[in-house]
């Protein structure tokens, strides 16, 4: 059944008990994103630190989100993926996720890079859910840009 794919167990699990939910201190950047068609929102905080190689790394991400299971699960899975990674690598994941989700199903997603986030590949079949799945990632993208500016 298609709905079992779209709402894969991992997605439902994350949506019911999102990881890293609840805004935390300290943070270097905070962003807010809304989905204007359905009113979903996310507020996201990002804390970065200078890594060994001199580049920035994601120290912590926390968020407060209101929305459907897809958007909740998506931001939750993302936090798991990006925390501890270099900002550069996180941005690479972000691009890969966006590519997968807007591919209308052509791109199943690279599991090596995206881990659990490939569970969202099914969303690509439902154009009106793409924005849900991207909401948190967009908030992170903006926060990362802010943090980069702040750190220079």
């Amino acid at each position: 059944m298609r709905m079992d794919d779209l709402y894969a167990e991992i997605i439902l699990d994350h949506s019911r008990a999102p990881h890293h939910a609840g805004l935390r201190e300290p943070f270097d950047a905070q962003t807010h994103q809304v989905n204007p068609t359905c009113g979903d929102e996310v507020t996201l905080r990002l804390a970065v630190q200078r890594g060994e190689d001199g580049g920035l790394a994601v120290q912590d991400v926390s968020f407060d989100a209101l929305g459907c299971s897809i958007s909740q699960a998506s931001v939750s899975v993302m936090t798991d993926l990006v925390i501890g990674e270099s900002l550069a690598h996180a941005q690479k994941m972000l691009a890969a996720f966006e590519a997968m989700i807007t591919s209308k199903g052509a791109d199943p997603g690279d599991e090596n890079l995206l881990g659990d986030a490939v569970a969202f590949a099914g969303v690509a079949q439902y154009p009106n859910r793409v924005k849900c799945a991207l909401l948190g990632w967009k908030a992170f993208k903006l926060a990362a840009a802010q943090a980069e500016v702040g750190a220079t």
């Binding site: 709402y7 167990e9 359905c38 009113g39 459907c68 897809i70």
Partner: protein, 429 residues
Amino acid sequence: MAVVAHVSPELGSHRVRADFPVLERTVRGGKPLVYLDSGATSQRPTCVLDAEQEFITDHYAAVKRGAHQLADEATEYYEGARAKVATFVGARQPEEIIFTAGATASLNLVAYAFGNATGATGDAARFAGGPGDEIVVTEMEHHANLVPWQELCRRTGATLKWFGLTDDFRLDLSDVSGMITPRTKVLALTGESNVLGTLPPVADLTAAAHRVGALVVLDACQSVPHRANDFAALDVDFAAFSGHKMLGPTGIGVLCGEYALLETLPPFLTGGSMIEVVYMDHSTYLPPPARFEAGTPPVTQAVALGAAVDYLTDLGMDHVEAHAMELTGLALQGLSALPGVSILGPATTDARGPAVAFLVDGIHPHDVGQLLDDAGVAVRVGHHCAWPLHRRYGVSASSRATFGVYSTADEVAALVDAVAGAQKFFAGR
């Protein structure tokens, strides 16, 4: 699901449904389409498509300004459509009907034209507003009847006020005289909430507004498609609605205005066909409706809208209303019988139109909509362009089923089943 009731035999019947070819479609892997999104936009019957097509393949040309037979014919069709619409909504004369691009364009027309009266002397001055003046709306407005007034206030310095909503989904009328005062220039309100279904007491509020000399602008988008309207009797000054919600095409809407007011209202869009004389440094403008129809109007869409009006008239607007309300009753009954489902709007068909918005405990409306879609049931989810209304009731979104002349009791039953199915799906995993 035990949903049994008498529904007017003709509407929703096979005969009516056969007029709407899209209803034969299947979706999501062969499921019959259950289209319950007519409040967003209705489907179009074949006769409307045919009327437009015949006009295009046989009589189409530029209207109002040709000097050839085709242009004469096209103009006659176009003006004929105006007369049909005028009769349909109870305008006093065809010239009270202005064709626009849609209801949103109609409402913006009024708001911008009022703004263009700023600094006017003479009769147009009554439309002007500024600091100290007030524009009154309601918390249940569609964004199309809210944001243009916010913007007008921003431009002119007038103040926006609004009737709030009660816990039982009605306008809060506890302080009408505090809301509508001698400072009120405009009362802009919906004839029927596109979310709650609630029908505000338009006639009473119009009378109150007129007592203080305010102008009344009615958003009639949701009421025109479902019931007989008589704007003249209702005494509203302006009323706006869209073609695509009343079995007509996209790309056309109507502003119905009292002629004496239209005559003194400044223009909004300017350009060809609305001018009297043009010099390089100034222009003068034609009387209504021409003054408000700048450029090439939606000619073929007007012809199609005329055909939609004919179709609705043939069905009989009393039947259309009875049918819609029977389905509404079934939906209210069926949905609220499901544990965990609540109606965002009055629970009975009392003083209510056919929009049934609902919430499902623990399942986000978007997820509800997704499961319904998978079952072939097309509803709308989100804030339905009424975000403040949703905020008022502490939610960011809802699911909404709306009905058309082709909708059936079986489809309502399918909706209720699908909602129950969605609950089961999320509960079971």
